[in-house]
C-alpha cells in the first residue's frame, strides 16, 4: 500500500460500480430512457446544431470539453488536508453527485427540446431567475479568467523553455488552420505535419540558448500575464477557424498523451518502485488553516463535480444525442473518466513530499509537472530525458489552461453582448478588453490560492443550481427527486459556506490594512493598491454569494411549485410534427 497503484485501482473499482451499478439503477428508476423515443437531434435536425452523432463521438467530445485544468490543479489545493480526504472526495463526490449531474443535465435538456440551461432557468424561475444566472456567470467568468491567466503566466515564468515551445505549438495551430481552411489540405497530412512541428517545438524548448527569461524582475509575472492576455484577446476577436479551432485540434494530441502516460505511470508503480511521499491526513484545519468542510469540496471541482459540465452537456451534447440511452455512456462515462484524470493528477502530488513542494517555491504551483516526471520518469526518462519531460509536461499544463481560457474569454464577450445590449461595453474589443484587464489585475495580485477557492465555490454552486433545475424537472414529471435534491442541497450549502469563508478571509485581510494583505508579489509593495484589491475581492465574493443565494432561493421556490403541480408538464415546441 505504499504506491499510488492501489488507490488508483480502488477508484477504478468505485467508478465501475458507479457506472454499472448505481448508474444503471438510477437510469432504470429515475430517467427511464427509451431508445425508441425521438431525440431533439432527430426531431429538429438542421445539420448544424441538431443532428444525430454516435455515442462514441459524443463521449470523446464531452470528455475533451470537460477535462481541462480543473481536475489537474484541484487536487494540489486539496492536499493541504492530506491525500486521503482528496481521494475520498474524488471517489464519493463523483460516485453520488458528479456523474449524476452531468448525465441528468443532458437528459433534462433532451426532455425539453434540447434547450440549454438559460431557457430552462427562464421557464422554471422566470426572467429574474435567468438574469440572476446571467449576472452570476459574469462574475464566475472573471474569476476563472483571473486564476487561469495567473497559472499560465506562472508556468511560463518558472519554466524558461516553455515559452518557445508554447509559441511553437500556437504557431503550428495557426499554420494548420491556414492549411486546412485556406489551402484545403488533407487533414491527415496537416495532422502529421503538426505532430512533427510540435515535436520540434518541444525540442526547441529544451535548448538552453532558447530558454528565454523575461528581464523585468519583480514584474515578470505581470509581463507573462499581459502576453497571455494578448493571445486571449486575439482568440476572442479572430474567427474561430483562424486560431481557437486549429490550436484546440492539434493540442489534443500532446494533452491526451500526457493523461495516458501519467495513468500508466501510476499503474506500474509497484514495478517502478515510486512510493507515496505525502501524508494521508493533515488534520481538519490542514496546513493552510482552512476547515476541511467546506473548503475541500470546492478545492477539487472538476473531477468530483463541476457546474461547467452542465452548461456543456445542455448546450451541445443534448442536441446531438442519437438515442436517449446514449446519455448514460456519454454523460456518466465522460464524467467518471474525468474523475480518472483527477485521480492521475492526485497521484502526481501523492509522490511528492511536503518538503519537496516547499523547496519548489514559486514553482510549487506546477508541482504536477514534477510529480508527472516522478511517475513517468522510469519509462519516459530514458527516451526524452529530464529536460524533455520538464518541457513536455509544463507545456501540457499551459495548453490545458490556455485553450480553455481562450473559450472562456470568447464566452465572456458573448455574455457581455447579452448583458450590455447596445452599450459600448458590448462592443467586441471593449468587452474583451474589460474581460482581460480585470482578470489580469487579479492575476498579478498573486492571490490565486484564495481566488481558486472562489472559482471552485462558484463552479460548484453552479453545479448545485443545475442539480436543482434537474430536480424541478423531475418533480414536475412526478419522478423521485431525492437522488438529485439531496446532492443539490449539499452542494449549495457547502459552496455558499465556502464562499462565506473566503469572503471572511479577504475581509479580515482588507480590514487589517496593507500589512496583512493577501496580495503577494509585485503589487504588495504598493500598500494602497494591495488593500484596495483585497476590498475588491471581498466585493466579488459578496456578489457571487448574494447572486448564488438568490438563485438558490428561486430554484427551491420553483421546486415547491413543481411538487404542487403548478409548473406545467414539458410540451413539444410549437410547430413540431
Amino acid at each position: 500500500m505504499t504506491t499510488p497503484f492501489w488507490f488508483v485501482v480502488l477508484a477504478l473499482v468505485a467508478y465501475a460500480v458507479a457506472y454499472w451499478g448505481y448508474g444503471k439503477w438510477f437510469d432504470r428508476n429515475i430517467w427511464k430512457p427509451d431508445p425508441n423515443r425521438t431525440t431533439p437531434a432527430h426531431m429538429y435536425t438542421d445539420g448544424v446544431e441538431y443532428f444525430p452523432v454516435s455515442r462514441y463521438v459524443l463521449w470523446g467530445y464531452q470528455f475533451k470539453r470537460v477535462a481541462a485544468l480543473g481536475p489537474v490543479l484541484g487536487p494540489f489545493i486539496a492536499i493541504q488536508f492530506g491525500w486521503a480526504p482528496a481521494l475520498v472526495w474524488l471517489i464519493l463526490g463523483n460516485f453520488f453527485i458528479g456523474w449524476v449531474q452531468d448525465y441528468s443535465s443532458i437528459m433534462v435538456s433532451v426532455r425539453n427540446q434540447g434547450r440549454s440551461f438559460g431557457p430552462i432557468t427562464y421557464e422554471f424561475t422566470g426572467n429574474a431567475g435567468r438574469n440572476t444566472l446571467l449576472g452570476f456567470i459574469l462574475f464566475y467568468l472573471l474569476i476563472i479568467s483571473a486564476t487561469f491567466i495567473f497559472l499560465v503566466a506562472n508556468f511560463l515564468n518558472v519554466f524558461p523553455g516553455s515559452f518557445i515551445a508554447t509559441a511553437g505549438i500556437l504557431g503550428t495551430g495557426i499554420l494548420a488552420g491556414q492549411l486546412i481552411y485556406k489551402r484545403r489540405a488533407s487533414i491527415v497530412t496537416v495532422t502529421v505535419l503538426s505532430l512533427v512541428l510540435m515535436i520540434v517545438s518541444f525540442a526547441l524548448g529544451t535548448i538552453p540558448a532558447l530558454q528565454w527569461k523575461a528581464p523585468f524582475g519583480a514584474w515578470n509575472l505581470a509581463f507573462w500575464a499581459a502576453l497571455t492576455c494578448v493571445f486571449l484577446w486575439l482568440a476572442s476577436v479572430l474567427p474561430l477557424p483562424t486560431l481557437i479551432q486549429p490550436v484546440n485540434y492539434i493540442s489534443f494530441f500532446p494533452t491526451f498523451a500526457a493523461i495516458v502516460l501519467i495513468l500508466i505511470g501510476a499503474l506500474i508503480t509497484p514495478a517502478t518502485g515510486v512510493a507515496l511521499a505525502q501524508p494521508a491526513w493533515l488534520g481538519f484545519w490542514g496546513t493552510a488553516g482552512n476547515p476541511l468542510w467546506p473548503i475541500l469540496f470546492v478545492a477539487i471541482a472538476c473531477g468530483a463535480i463541476s457546474g461547467w459540465h452542465s452548461l456543456v452537456g445542455s448546450s451541445t451534447t443534448s442536441k446531438q444525442l442519437d438515442v436517449e440511452t446514449d446519455a448514460h455512456p456519454v454523460g456518466a462515462g465522460a464524467m467518471l473518466s474525468e474523475g480518472l484524470l483527477g485521480l492521475a493528477s492526485l497521484a502526481c502530488y501523492m509522490v511528492l513530499s511536503i518538503e519537496r513542494i516547499r523547496e519548489l517555491g514559486n514553482a510549487s504551483v506546477a508541482s504536477w509537472v514534477f510529480g508527472a516526471k516522478v511517475l513517468t520518469g522510469p519509462y519516459l526518462g530514458p527516451i526524452i530525458g529530464e529536460a524533455g519531460m520538464t518541457i513536455y509536461f509544463s507545456v501540457v499544463l499551459i495548453i490545458f489552461a490556455i485553450t480553455v481560457q481562450a473559450l472562456v474569454t470568447r464566452f465572456w464577450r458573448l455574455v457581455s453582448a447579452e448583458v450590455f445590449g447596445e452599450s459600448i461595453l458590448a462592443q467586441k474589443h471593449v468587452s474583451t478588453f474589460i474581460g482581460l484587464a480585470i482578470p489580469w489585475l487579479f492575476a498579478v495580485s498573486g492571490a490565486w490560492n484564495n481566488l481558486w477557492l472562489y472559482f471552485g465555490g462558484s463552479n460548484q454552486l453552479l453545479a448545485g443550481l443545475a442539480l436543482m433545475l434537474i430536480t424541478i424537472h423531475l418533480a414536475r414529471v412526478r419522478e423521485m427527486t431525492q437522488y438529485t435534491l439531496y446532492p443539490a442541497t449539499f452542494m449549495i450549502v457547502t459552496t455558499l459556506a465556502a464562499l462565506l469563508w473566503q469572503i471572511r478571509v479577504f475581509y479580515r485581510a482588507a480590514s487589517a490594512g496593507p500589512e496583512k494583505t493577501l496580495v503577494v508579489g509585485v503589487l504588495k509593495q504598493y500598500g494602497a493598491i494591495a488593500n484596495a484589491l483585497d476590498w475588491v475581492f471581498v466585493f466579488v465574493g459578496v456578489a457571487l454569494f448574494v447572486l448564488g443565494l438568490i438563485m438558490a432561493a428561486r430554484t427551491y421556490m420553483a421546486y415547491s411549485q413543481a411538487m404542487r403541480g403548478q409548473i406545467p408538464q414539458p410540451q413539444p415546441a410549437a410547430g413540431d410534427d
Binding site: 431508445p35 425508441n36 423515443r37 425521438t38 431525440t39 437531434a41 432527430h42 429538429y44 435536425t45 438542421d46 445539420g47 448544424v48 446544431e49 443532428f51 444525430p52 452523432v53 454516435s54 462514441y56 463521438v57 459524443l58 463521449w59 470523446g60 467530445y61 464531452q62 470528455f63 475533451k64 470539453r65 434547450r115 440549454s116 440551461f117 438559460g118 431557457p119 427562464y122 446571467l134 456567470i137 487533414i187 474567427p239 474561430l240 477557424p241 479551432q245 486549429p246 484546440n248 485540434y249 489534443f252 494530441f253 491526451f256 452548461l311 456543456v312 445542455s314 448546450s315 451541445t316 446531438q320 442519437d322 438515442v323 440511452t325 473559450l407 464566452f411 458573448l414 455574455v415 447579452e418
Partner: protein, 107 residues
C-alpha cells in the same frame, strides 16, 4: 454555395449514428475511431458548420430580404436566385426562428 442540410434517416447523419431503436453494437475499431474523432475534431466540425450557417443566414437575408419586407436586392435578381434558394427556406426559417440563449454559445 448554398448549404443544404440533409435530413438523416435512422442510422445516418454521422458515423455510426443508429437512430431511434437502432442496433447497439459496434466494433472496437469503430469505437476508437469515433472517440478520437470526437475528442479531436467534432467540436471543430460543429463550429465550422455554425460559421457556415451564419454566412448562409446572411446570404439568404441579402437575396431574399423581400420575404421579410426588406428590399435588399432588386427583385429581378431575387427572382433569378429563388429556385436555388427555395429548398433552403424551410431549414433557414427553422434555424432563424429557434430560441437561442447565451448558454447555447459555450462551444
Amino acid at each position: 454555395m448554398i448549404f443544404r442540410p440533409k435530413k438523416p434517416e435512422a442510422g445516418e447523419g454521422s458515423p455510426e449514428a443508429r437512430g431511434p431503436g437502432g442496433a447497439t453494437r459496434a466494433g472496437f475499431g469503430t469505437m476508437l475511431k469515433g472517440v478520437l474523432y470526437g475528442m479531436a475534431s467534432h467540436g471543430n466540425v460543429t463550429a465550422a458548420l455554425r460559421t457556415r450557417m451564419h454566412l448562409e443566414h446572411l446570404f439568404m437575408f441579402i437575396t431574399l430580404g423581400d420575404m421579410l419586407g426588406i428590399p435588399v436586392l432588386p427583385p429581378y435578381y431575387s427572382l433569378r436566385i429563388l429556385p436555388y434558394a427555395v429548398p433552403n427556406v424551410e431549414s433557414w426559417k427553422q434555424r432563424v426562428f429557434r430560441e437561442r440563449d447565451f448558454t447555447d454559445a459555450i462551444y
